[in-house]
Structures are given as C-alpha cells and as structure tokens.
C-alpha cells in the first residue's frame, strides 16, 4: 500500500465500533466547513445593510456601505472552496449547463448568480453611482479610469436620477432580503435534506443556518467597523456600535433558541440515532460543540452583550452601565468569540455529520491535511482572500460616511460643470 493511503490506515486504527467500509474516507473536509461559513457572512452582512435601507435603523448607517462591500468580497470567494474540493473542478461548469433540476446542489449556480448580479452588484452600483461620477471628475489615472468604468456611462446627477437611484436601491434591498434568506437557507437545505443522515436531516437546519448567518454577519461588521475606525484614527460612533451590539444580541438569542429547540427535539424524540449521536457529542464533538460553540461562542458573548449593550433598556441604558471604552472592548471580544462559535457551528454540522456511521454502530475521526487542495493552508488562504478583496474594494469605493458625496457636493459639481440638473 502506498503512502497515499497512510492517513486512511490511521483513521481505520481509530474507528470505534463498526462503520461501513466505505465510510473510512471522510468526504467533506475543512473546505466544506469554510463554504457555509463564508456564505453565512455574506447573507448576514447584507441583512445588516438592509436594516438601514429598509427598516430605517439610522444608527447603523456608518456600516451600510461597509456591509455591502464585505458581502461582495465574501461572495466572490464563496464558490472557491467548493471548486477546490471537487474531484473534477474543470467539469464544474456542467452545474450551470446541464443542471439536474431535482438536485438542491444544482441550484447553487442560479442562487449564486442571482445574488451576485441582481442583488449585490446592482445595489452597490445604484448606491455608489453618484459618488463615482463626482469622484471621477476630480481624479486622474487608474482611479479616474475605474470610477468612469464603474458609472457605465450613466453620469446623470439630476435630482430625478438621484431619486431613481434611491428608489431602485431600496427596491433591490427589498428583493435582497429574501434573496439573502434564500442564499443561506439554501446552503442549510443542502444538509437538512439529506434523509440518510440523522445529524443533518432536520427541517430546522436551514432556519438555524439563516440566523447563525445573521449573527456571524453582524459580528463581522462589528469587528471590521471597530478595526477600521482604529486604523483610520477616527472616533467610533458609539450609537452605531451599541445598535450593532443590540441587533447582534437579538439574533444570537433567536439563533441559540432555535439550536436548543433542535437539540431538545432530538433528545426528547430519542430516535434510533440518539445513542450514537450522544456518544459523538460526548467524545468526538465535545470540544467543538459544547465548549467552543455553546459555551465560548454563544453563552459567554450572549451574557456579555446582555449586560453591557443597551439591547433591553434602550436609549443607551444598559443593565450594567459601562464607559464607551469598556463597551467597545466587550463588543470586540464578543464578536471574536461569536466568529469562533459560528465557525465551530459549521464544523459541527459538516464534520459532525460524518463522524458517525450510517450503520449507527460506530464513530470515526477526521484527519485534517495541512497541505494540498483540501488542506488547512488552502482553507486559511480562502478565509484571508475575502479580506484582501475587501481592501481593494474599499480603496476603489471608500465606504466611509465622511467620503460619501453629499447632495451639496453634487449640486456644487453640477454648477462647476455648468449644468443645472441636466444630464451631461
């Protein structure tokens, strides 16, 4: 036997009980953990953006554009872990060309294309168009070129066209909310619809995925907002941070309640699979599920946010009054813990669903590779790549409120261009 099979031989040594012989190889590894994690961040960041746009939560306005760009950066990377994981990546286009319409996975191409083009790109375009037109007029070189290309030649800054931009953006956000639900609910459905697997097969999985997505998205924007403010040396808008923390807490409570409901339902029904699943939770998944996901990733930040944020009492009043510096620190640490917790959630779903045998008689182990297409470094790279993309996007399309072109600037621009509300 060649060295290529050595890892599988090691797994075979660590199998407990009986597993079907074909189950020694674990098929969905770290890359498939990364995939729902990334799409969750996309959906969550977009839903946060929609808070300002559709639900008029004015406080979170400073994060609106950052959320959109973050969603875009992560969405661009989202298919890469899938691609790297395929046995034949070069055949992946068949999903688009000859999809099996009965397959949940085949819908990926359509859901992804819809979300990328109809929702995110259009919304960003309508939102940034006036800025790009005004920026381009005072720029030279690459930035001028990029902003000119971005406008697609639509340079009309008349009040009528600006109003159209605003309405179109709002409409797209309205379409975008169910689309974001669809995007991540669909990823949950990929797992939840596998009746062969009792750990996955649950009608609640898409809903749990959705709310964990919202949690992870808000937490990520919280982290990015605090970090970018530090880097840019500007004062953090505490009203915004408090509001983010409040919504984070609400989403976390719903998410945790749904997970508990799923857990209690399984325990109470105590179906045939309960014995092996209990064994798995008590042994193979104890650290990642009980410690990382539940205690450190959910309960601890939940308690911290409940005490420090003004989520329950409103008007900036919290259960424990804390100075802004402390609140920022708590929010920051909570957001990091939550990211870790949500990543663990994805891990526990994807890897956990493969650690027990479908014979319900044994447990296996997951041996993570370091190198190679499906290895640790590849996954780490794919998790860093969105941040690089986000940096580039931020350079080209600054999302900061102080960089946004105001109506006064638009009018001044119109005057300087010798126009009065007419398209150029």
């Amino acid at each position: 036997m060649t060295d290529a099979f050595q890892p599988l031989m090691e797994v075979l040594q660590q199998v407990k009980g009986y597993i079907y012989p074909n189950e020694v190889e674990l098929h969905w590894g770290l890359l498939i953990v990364v995939y729902p994690y990334i799409t969750g961040l996309v959906a969550g960041a977009f839903i946060l953006a929609s808070l300002e746009r559709v639900f008029n939560v004015r406080e979170v306005q400073p994060t609106y554009r950052l959320s959109l760009l973050t969603a875009l950066a992560f969405l661009i990377v989202a298919p890469l872990p899938l691609l790297a994981h395929l046995g034949h990546p070069t055949r992946s286009f068949e999903i688009f060309l000859t999809p099996n319409l009965h397959s949940a996975m085949a819908m990926f191409g359509f859901v992804y294309a819809w979300y990328l083009t109809v929702v995110l790109l259009l919304e960003i375009w309508f939102d940034y168009r006036k800025d790009a037109v005004v920026w381009a007029r005072n720029e030279r070189g690459l930035r001028w070129f990029l902003h000119r290309v971005f406008t697609l030649g639509a340079n009309d800054l008349s009040p009528r066209s600006l109003e159209f931009d605003r309405r179109a953006g709002r409409l797209i956000t309205l379409i975008g909310i169910p689309s974001a639900f669809l995007l991540h609910g669909y990823v949950g459905f990929i797992f939840g619809s596998v009746k062969a697997n009792p750990w996955w097969s649950s009608v609640l999985i898409p809903v749990v995925f959705l709310f964990s997505a919202i949690v992870s998205g808000i937490a990520l924007i919280m982290l990015l907002y605090i970090l970018t403010s530090l880097v840019r040396r500007i004062e953090i808008d505490m009203a915004c941070a408090d509001k983010l923390a409040s919504f984070l807490l609400y989403a976390l409570i719903v998410d945790f309640s749904l997970e508990m409901l799923d857990f209690i339902q399984r325990l109470y029904e105590a179906e045939e699979s309960i014995h092996i699943l209990s064994q798995m939770i008590a042994s193979r998944l104890f650290i990642s599920l009980v410690v990382l996901q539940m205690l450190l990733g959910t309960l601890l930040p939940m308690i911290a946010l409940a005490l420090i944020s003004p989520a329950f009492r409103g008007q900036g009043r919290a259960l424990v009054q804390a100075p802004p510096e402390l609140r920022r620190l708590v929010y920051f640490c909570s957001a990091i813990l939550i990211q870790m917790g949500i990543f663990s959630t994805r891990w526990n779903v994807v890897i956990g669903g493969q650690l027990f045998s479908k014979s319900l008689r044994g447990l296996t182990v997951y041996k993570m590779e370091l190198m190679g297409l499906e290895g640790f470094f590849m996954s780490a790279l794919l998790l860093l790549l969105p941040f690089l993309l986000l940096y580039l996007l931020v350079v080209v399309l600054p999302p900061w409120p102080d960089k946004e072109v105001s109506l006064e600037a638009v009018n001044a621009d119109l005057l300087s261009a010798g126009q009065t509300g007419q398209p150029d």
Binding site: F5, P21, L86, G87, T98, S103
Partner: protein, 271 residues
C-alpha cells in the same frame, strides 16, 4: 435430490431467449427431426408453406427488464468470494476503503450486545469469534440497493448518476464532477470516491455483464447461492421463486428509497 432453489440464474441473452444446457433427453428430442427431414428431402417432398419461420432475433430492449437481487443471509458462509470477484471484475481498488460489495458478520450476545465486523470487507473471510455468551451469529452481504427511488440520483447536481431503463443505478465516470453529494445521500454506505478517477463509484450489478446475458460476478462465484439475481419482470425465475418462498425485508425501508436488493428473513439487528 436437486435443491429447489439452485435453479439456473442465467439471464436471457440479448435476443431475449434463454439458452438451456442440453441434456441427453434434449439432445435426442432435437435429433429426432433430422432423419425425418432427410427422409422428406430424399423423397422429394416440399416444405409446408405455412410453417412459421424462426423469430428474428429481437434487439436487447432495456425497458423490458427490471434487474434486482435477492440475498439469503442464512446461506452466506462469509467466505468473501463475492468481494474478491467484485474487486477483480470491476477493477475496484484493493485498499480496504473501497468496496462495491462487502460482507458483515453479526455476533449477537446473550447480554443483548451486537458486535458487527467487516475486516477488509470480508474479502479474506473472518477471524474466529472471540466474544463469549453468543446468542446467534450470521453473515450479511451488502451492496448498492439499486433503489427504485434513489436519493443519490436525486441529489447529483449534474445528472451524472442515473437509473437505466432496466433498473440499475449507474455513474457516468466521464461526467461526474466529484462533489460527493451522492456519497452522503446514500443511506447504505454503498458509494465511494475512486482514488484514481476522482469520481463516485458503486455496484453496477456488473452492468457490462448483464447486457451480454451474464449474471453479476458476485452471484456467479457464490458457492452457496446466497445471492439470487434476476429480473423482477419475469414471473418464472429463481428470483421470483425466492420472493415467493421467503419473508422479504429491505434495508432501511423507512427511508422510502424502495431498495431493490431483497433480503430473506433478515435479522432486526441489520441496518
């Protein structure tokens, strides 16, 4: 006395006829017309005009068949010949992680514990039982259940895995993208990813043999006829007899996959 179950399991040849071995009685019966014909010719007689002509060989029509397998665990001795034959016939990787078919040994103990094992798929038989307090033991051959409602076919994003008109679930190796969703969708652990082709693989009922009128390799080599292969559309066949004469169970029937591998008098411990 001839075993009533040990009937000829050969399939109809592609033209639909079932060739039977010629015994002495058959030989004489067939030889009888020869001298008569010679006599007629010599007498200058003519062939009757309304005599039916031999039927023209009909092409193999896949939709006429619905292949299936019966398994009688009581007959299985766990020799592993079927596993070996399958690996040889289908070029299945020899490593102990890839099986189109395998044998499980169940040891049910008096304290209610059940120990299951399938060392290297049972290809080289099984070691002596070390457990004590044994209530009953038995072997169970496993393979793809060729479900009539296959979840693997449902989930394949590109339609690379499909059901043939003659009721066999196959994978198009040239089309499979290697996403492995089908492997997860299969409740029976019957699929694996081929380490060289990087495509999903599973039992095909030796489809390449079926279309030539042969039976699957595992059925062919089984020394105890624990596997009975046949066509569910044929009323008189060893498989029909097997289905008539036994209490029939399917694996994980509650999942509504409509398996087409039928087990006779299966123990409740088998999942």
């Amino acid at each position: 006395m001839k075993d009533p179950d040990s009937q000829d399991q050969r399939l109809p040849s592609p033209d639909g006829s079932l060739e039977t071995p010629m015994d002495r009685r058959g030989f004489l019966a067939r030889s009888l017309p020869v001298p008569l014909t010679l006599l007629t010719v010599l007498q200058g007689g003519q062939q009757e005009p309304d005599q039916p002509k031999p039927a023209e060989a009909a092409p193999y029509k896949a939709s006429d068949h619905n292949y299936s397998m019966g398994i009688d665990p009581a007959r299985c001795i766990g020799c592993g010949r079927c596993v070996e034959a399958c690996k040889t016939e289908n070029d299945v990787p020899r490593e102990p992680f890839y099986f189109r078919t395998w044998i499980e040994r169940y040891v049910v103990q008096t304290d209610g514990q059940t120990m299951v094992a399938s060392p290297n798929g049972g290809i080289a038989g099984f070691p002596p039982i070390t457990e004590t307090g044994i209530l009953r033991t038995f072997f169970v051959p496993k393979l793809c259940n060729q479900c009539a409602a296959p979840p693997c076919v449902q989930v394949c994003p590109v339609g690379a895995t499909f059901t043939t008109p003659d009721g066999v679930v196959l994978v198009d190796e040239a089309y499979c993208i290697g996403c492995r969703y089908c492997i997860h969708a299969c409740p029976y652990g019957a699929r694996f990813l081929h380490p060289v082709s990087h495509t999903a693989e599973k039992c095909t009922f030796c489809y390449h043999r079926l279309v030539k009128g042969l039976i699957p390799a595992c059925v062919e080599v089984c020394p105890t006829q624990a596997r009975i292969f046949g066509d569910l559309n044929r009323r008189s066949s060893p498989l029909s007899r097997f289905m008539r004469m036994n209490q029939i169970q399917q694996l994980k029937a509650h999942l509504n996959t409509a398996p087409k591998v039928f087990y006779a008098n299966l123990d409740g411990e088998v999942k």
